[in-house]
């Protein structure tokens, strides 16, 4: 993988995780992975393991927080929550993506027309 692709993928993953936590509230890693799969309609082929370094990175940046909790079937699991900074970051990132999508759409339209 070249560096650029990695960065884009990382950025996408970050956004997806933040989004997930925003919509679903506190989740553990498995839950986040499941949700991403659902939402992307399996378009995003993701090795689920890559989630964990990403989660650690987000935690290091202060956008999410984690703590031990009990899962649905009474097992110990690590739960991640969105922080206030994370919520702000989500808004920023979402806006950037929308603007980029908008721009690309317009470019493609002008190329056709």
């Amino acid at each position: 993988m070249t560096g650029d692709r990695e960065d884009i993928l990382r950025g996408t993953l970050d956004l997806l995780v933040l989004n997930t936590l925003d919509k679903l509230g506190p989740q553990h890693g498995y839950g986040i992975a499941r949700r991403i799969e659902q939402v992307s309609g399996n378009l995003l082929q993701l090795n689920q393991g890559t989630l964990y370094p990403a989660l650690l990175r987000l935690e290091q940046k202060g956008w999410i927080r984690s703590t031990w909790g009990t899962s649905g079937n009474n097992r110990r699991a690590r739960f991640y929550t969105l922080t206030r900074a994370g919520k702000k970051q989500l808004a920023v990132e979402s806006e950037r993506w929308e603007r980029m999508a908008d721009l690309i759409t317009r470019l493609l339209q002008s190329a056709e027309g």
């Binding site: 090795n47 890559t50 370094p53 650690l56 990175r57 690590r78």
Partner: protein
């Protein structure tokens, strides 16, 4: 800031590594369990479910790696990893490590030692405040070929009065006087200074005070400053020494202060034991009133912000104004200013820089050798690296690992090198001839260690980069499939051959340099000085001026002592002379020929002046060419006579017999006495062995006595016997006289070439080191080449090649290699030896004999080194080597 948070988290993570590892483990386990359950619900069997879950999850180890990477200060952790791994690798191959470390230690250590000396002597600023403002002021006469001459006292005073560029100016000279009282009479080195020197240098006393302007006035009470060394050795560091009286040349001086050892002015003196005001010196004091004597050394401090050129321009203007006043009829004199530093360093610079160049070459050769060793090792580790690459290590990571190992080697080598350098520097310091100033305080300090570190890093990069890049080359991945085929070493072989060729070239440059130095030194010590110094013991006696103030006294003393010495059995052949050739330096005096042709303006006739007792020439074996030697009849009351050397006769009496003509010269107050030439003697090299003999004029000691001189005795007896006899005789005549510097004249003559001998020896050592290293390099690479080609040799032998043919094959490879290096080396040497031509005597920088002999030597040794592996090649068993496919 985000990056700070990440950094902080990572630093924290370094300490909580285990906890985070466990957390990840648990999370991963949980995740996979859920995936498995999910799969079981879909209907898979438990084992299939688990496998599917693992597949979905992706590589667990890779996840852990990525997690760790995100988690920690990856860089520092991996560096530690690399270091630990490197240490383990080195411990596994102690032989290699030892050889590499020793090679590096020699190269780095030699560099540190030499660089310390170079720094101390050449680079370190003088130990005074604002040393860049300090300049020496002297007179020069280009037409007459005088580069540096002292000034007269009157001129100095005038310069001091009228100049605008200097904040202060002072003068100094040095003298040996006799110190009596508080112990045995002893000769001490005294610095005669004007009091301004102390504020000029911003010098503080250890005890008491320095000299004040009042002390420098005529008629002031004589005062003196002790050196710390003298204070401790003779006065037992008595704090009550201030105010006591000491006797210098039998005259009372009051001690007013003690100067610390760190105060090292005047710089050119070997040791300074006392400072007294110039006007109080028994010799120079009276000379300050005599016009025309130019003996004062002047030093000055530029005013802040005044550049040297401006001060020089001002002095030129002053010179023009004063020319008529002080140098009437003697044109061509100029006042020159030069930084004090360069005056001190003088010619030592070339020698030291040559040594530095040589030692850098040695280090380069050492690095090439270690690089070769590493390349050889990389072959055996090729599989290890291939595996690492397959496991996902980036090329950079492998290069970094190897560089780390190189740095490790470099550091260890540097550490050992520092020890070697410390011992070496001490030995160097002791062996360094006294010609080089300020080398007594060589020691290891922070700067040296920093330099060692820098050197080791540089060397590590130098020898480590190529092997590292080479080993990490992904093309070598094929090794993992093949079972160590020797064919793939070709590229490596080429590099190693190249390295060895470079080594040989560098070693040849060094060897040629060493050869030139050795030949030069041999020429120097076999030169005939014109006299025979064998079995001659010399001893210096000086008379205190205040007690022996009249010429008659000096003559009486010397006659008495000489008679008594000659009365001793085995000591008949003795004489007195001032100065002794080579052992004592020389005195150059201007003279004129009575009724001779006038000289063109600006030229002065000078000759070296020697006062001798009759018998001097016979004792030293200087043959008489024409006329007669001195005899007892030549005394103060008979006509003045002079004996000249052949050179003087040739130069100034080319077409007539000098005998009978008269020369006019002398020391004040006899400066203008006409002396009749009565004899011509063979030339003598009195200034230096390397200087061709110049014109000399000898006068009878009885007609031109000094207040001291050198007694020479030609004897077959032992040192102690003669020394004791001399001391006894002198003390019989006068109890308080010291007898100094008793040594064999041949030793004193040899001491004049001590610097040359030392640097010849040093560069010889370096040359030998280079030769050894280069030979080892040749041995290594030919061995390697042979091991690469065993397969080929096996085939050749199987096809009928004889042992001799194989031998020739390998030797030819060695020869080609050596010749390539030698040719490059000769070319480089031809270009570089020009730089040392100023240090050579009697041999040209492009001396053909050296340039032929040394490449032959190097080629010979290299071929010898190639012979051993060549023999091994002939013993290849074709069956074994072919099967080893």
């Amino acid at each position: 800031m985000t990056w700070m948070r990440i950094l902080g988290s990572r630093v924290a993570a370094m300490f909580t590594r285990n906890r985070l590892e466990h957390r990840l483990d648990e999370e991963v386990r949980f995740h996979i369990e859920l995936l498995t359950e999910e799969n079981i619900e879909r209907g898979m069997g438990p084992d299939d479910a688990r496998y599917a879950a693992l597949r979905t999850f992706g590589g667990v180890d890779r996840t852990k790696e990525a997690y760790r990477e995100q988690r920690g200060l990856h860089l520092i952790e991996t560096i530690f990893q690399d270091l630990r791994y490197g240490v383990r690798q080195l411990r596994l191959s102690p032989g290699f490590a030892a050889v590499a470390v020793v090679t590096l230690a020699l190269g780095i250590g030699a560099n540190i030692a030499i660089f310390t000396v170079v720094y101390d002597v050449l680079l370190k600023p003088l130990p005074f405040s604002h040393p860049e403002q300090l300049v020496g002021v002297f007179e020069a006469n280009e037409q007459a070929g005088v580069a540096e001459n002292g000034s007269s006292y009157q001129e100095f005073e005038e310069w001091r009065r009228v100049n605008l560029s200097f904040s202060e100016m002072a003068g100094d000279q040095e003298h040996e006087l006799t110190l009596t009282g508080r112990g045995e009479p002893v000769s001490v080195r005294v610095a005669d200074v004007t009091p301004e020197i102390f504020p000029l240098l911003d010098a503080r006393p250890l005890l008491g005070r320095t000299l004040l302007p009042e002390d420098g006035k005529r008629g002031a009470a004589p005062v003196a400053l002790l050196s710390e060394g003298l204070w401790r050795s003779r006065f037992a560091a008595d704090p009550a020494v201030i105010g006591i009286a000491i006797d210098l040349d039998k005259r009372a001086f009051t001690v007013v202060g003690v100067m610390p050892d760190a105060f090292q002015y005047p710089l050119m003196m070997k040791t300074r034991q006392l400072w007294i005001p110039l006007l109080q010196d028994p010799l120079f004091g009276p000379w300050t009133t005599l016009p025309g004597g130019h003996w004062l050394r002047v030093v000055a401090r530029l005013k802040p912000g005044i550049p040297l050129v401006q001060a020089q321009a001002e002095m030129d203007a002053i010179n023009r104004r004063l020319a008529g006043k002080y140098r009437a009829g003697d044109p061509g004199w100029a006042i020159r200013i030069g930084p004090l530093k360069s005056e001190v360093v003088g010619k030592a610079g070339t020698t030291l820089l040559t040594m530095l160049g040589a030692v850098v070459l040695v280090l380069l050769i050492a690095c090439a050798n270690v690089a070769n060793l590493l390349l050889a090792r990389a072959t055996s580790r090729a599989r290890e690296f291939a595996v690492r690459v397959a496991l996902g290590a980036g090329r950079f990571r492998i290069v970094r690992q190897l560089l780390t190992e190189s740095v490790l080697l470099g550091l260890v080598g540097a550490a050992v090198g520092v020890f070697l350098a410390y011992g070496g520097a001490k030995a160097l310091g002791r062996m360094l001839p006294p010609g080089l100033p300020r080398v007594h305080d060589l020691r290891i300090d922070g700067w040296m260690l920093g330099f060692a570190l820098l050197l080791s890093m540089g060397a590590s990069l130098l020898f480590g980069l190529a092997p590292a890049l080479f080993a990490a080359d992904s093309r070598r991945q094929s090794t993992i499939q093949e079972s160590g085929r020797s064919g793939e070493g070709l590229g490596r072989l080429r590099i190693r051959r190249g390295l060895v060729a470079v080594e040989i070239a560098l070693a040849l440059v060094l060897l040629v340099g060493a050869g030139l130095f050795i030949r030069s030194f041999a020429a120097l010590i076999t030169v005939d000085p014109g006299f025979d110094a064998r079995r001659i013991l010399k001893a210096e006696v000086s008379l205190p001026r205040f007690q022996y103030s009249k010429q008659e006294q000096w003559v009486a003393f010397s006659t008495e002592v000489l008679e008594r010495v000659q009365a001793q059995p085995g000591m008949q052949q003795s004489a007195i002379a001032v100065p002794l050739p080579l052992a004592d330096g020389f005195v150059n005096l201007g003279f004129s020929i009575e009724k001779g042709s006038p000289l063109p303006a600006g030229r002065i006739r000078t000759a070296d002046y020697v006062a001798v007792s009759p018998g001097y020439f016979q004792v030293l074996g200087i043959p008489l060419v024409r006329g007669r030697y001195f005899e007892r009849q030549d005394t103060l009351s008979t006509p003045r006579v002079v004996v000249i050397s052949e050179a003087l006769a040739r130069l100034y009496f080319p077409d007539r017999d000098p005998i009978g003509s008269r020369l006019v010269f002398g020391f004040p107050p006899d400066g203008n006495l006409a002396r009749e030439i009565v004899g011509i003697v063979r030339d003598v090299r009195d200034a230096a062995l390397s200087r061709p003999p110049g014109p000399m004029m000898y006068v009878p000691f009885a007609q031109a006595p000094f207040w001291g001189g050198c007694l020479i005795v030609k004897t077959a007896a032992g040192t102690d016997t003669v020394a004791r006899a001399i001391r006894q005789i002198v003390h019989e005549v006068d109890r308080d006289l010291p007898v100094d510097n008793i040594e064999w004249m041949s030793a004193a003559v040899e001491a004049t070439v001590a610097t040359t001998r030392f640097r010849t020896w040093l560069i010889g050592v370096f040359g030998a080191m280079a030769l050894a290293l280069a030979t080892a390099g040749v041995f290594g690479v030919i061995s390697y080449s042979v091991s690469c080609r065993t397969h080929e040799f096996g085939i050749r032998i199987a096809l009928g090649a004889t042992r001799r043919e194989i031998l020739r094959l390998v030797m030819r490879e060695g020869l080609c290699l050596t010749l390539a290096g030698a040719v490059a080396g000769i070319a480089a040497a031809l270009a570089l030896t020009r730089l040392i031509s100023s240090l050579l005597y009697g041999v040209r920088a492009t001396d053909p004999a050296t340039f032929v002999a040394l490449p032959l030597l190097l080629t010979g040794t290299a071929l010898l080194a190639a012979y051993l592996p060549a023999r091994r090649a002939t013993r290849v068993d074709p069956i074994v080597s072919l099967r080893h496919e």
